[in-house]
Symmetry: C2
Subunit: 221 residues, 2 copies
DNA sequence: CAGAAACTTGCACGGAGTGTAAATATGCAC
DNA sequence: GTGCATATTTACACTCCGTGCAAGTTTCTG
């Protein structure tokens, strides 16, 4: 099991079966992605490997890419959950930083990293990844809006909200991009430490307004 | 002619024909999008309306969405060109601000705004839009890298580059989102002035590190 | 004008995605 | 457990997408 579901599991036979097939589909998809490479297998291949009919596949996912993107969605949902756990009076950037470095452990990052490397080359997959990040941005906006509504009672600045949420995601993505360029799919402790530091640095840059004089970053590896 | 091509036009018969066909396709696509709504017309419909064969359509664009996204690409390429025109010693955020507000004129913004509104509802279109913005991010990274390579000779910080470029795009997008939510497809002088102010504010937020105390924005409309 | 190169077109084919109706599995009341 | 309502899977058929190919047409070049 590459990455555990975060759903509370309402233990009914139907829900259980559905979760199982869903998992079987994503597993089969990832397996085929590994063995055949992006774009070199069909929905029918996935269905066969998962032991279901082609039609049933489409009852769960609207495309191969959607099935694979569930990995990224899982990762980002996880991040969102961490974010929502932070105290409401904490500065947003600090919350984001904390939520992100929480995720820099092997179990969480591994599936994400693998998909990341495999998706780099493929335009189709890349689009789905972008969509996932965009979806996460929307959720951060919601989370931040709630938070502001609770603390500062008055009217809140939509521009502030959206610009901040978008920038946080962009910086998180930038950190992952750089990490990947540097370390590839390496999941060693040193590599993950680099990732954590990159995430911290990225949030630092954001918080300091990207000081035009540059090179304030603390990582000189 | 909704929006003039920025290509230098190497006036050969072939290039001319190709440009005309390309334009005919995007025009037909937009027309059909307006009249039938997203997802309610086929590539064959576009081809017929543009007076070409279905096969030829695919010689120009890989999908309906790609044809429509050319509008957004045109807009963003325009922004990129403005950005590259700025002096190399100017702070990047200032260059971005200048390039962006340059675009807040009716001619440039009109096609973009229309597509924006029509794409809101449709997932397919939205993905293509995201891709266009992502492509623009990559180009900003290149532009900024060149610039840094020219001024500061030493090794440059990839994280800084990518985080900054991504944040700029995110803030630009946020400004457009808010503008659209406020003004819809209104292209009046007042509306465009709002857009300009939003873009300025967004860059201001970014430059000030999103001051946690919030509400430093200057637009109380 | 003739030949080369670029572009268009029709055709055919495999694959994506969806509606539909029949078959199968599950939940629930008794 | 039996029987029925509801949910899920499946097969089938259909439209549309995207691409390789080979023949036709236009444009360029000498």
């Amino acid at each position: 099991m590459p990455h555990p579901q975060t759903t509370p599991a309402p233990t009914s036979r139907r829900e259980l079966n559905k979760a199982a097939t869903r998992q079987a589909i994503t597993d089969a998809s990832l397996q085929l992605l590994r063995s055949k490479g992006p774009g070199n297998f069909t929905v029918e291949d996935i269905a066969d490997a998962a032991g279901i009919s082609r039609r049933t596949f489409f009852n769960y996912f609207s495309s191969t890419e959607a099935a694979l993107a569930s990995v990224t969605h899982g990762f980002l949902d996880n991040a969102l959950a961490q974010f929502r756990l932070r105290p409401a009076d904490e500065p947003i950037l600090e919350s984001a930083r904390a939520a992100l470095i929480q995720l820099a452990d092997p179990m969480t990052v591994a599936p994400m990293a693998e998909l990341y490397s495999l998706a780099q080359s493929n335009p189709q997959l890349n689009r789905s990844e972008l969509e996932a990040w965009d979806h996460c941005t929307a959720e951060i906006i919601d989370a931040a809006r709630e938070r502001f509504a609770r603390t500062a009672g008055g009217e809140l600045d939509e521009l502030y909200l959206r610009a901040l949420a978008g920038s946080i995601i962009s910086c998180g993505k930038a950190a992952m991009d750089v990490w990947f360029a540097r370390c590839g799919a390496d999941l060693s402790a040193a590599s993950l430490s680099t990732l954590r530091q990159l995430l911290i640095d990225a949030m630092g840059l954001l918080g300091s307004g990207f000081m035009p004089t540059a090179t304030l970053s603390t990582d000189r590896h």
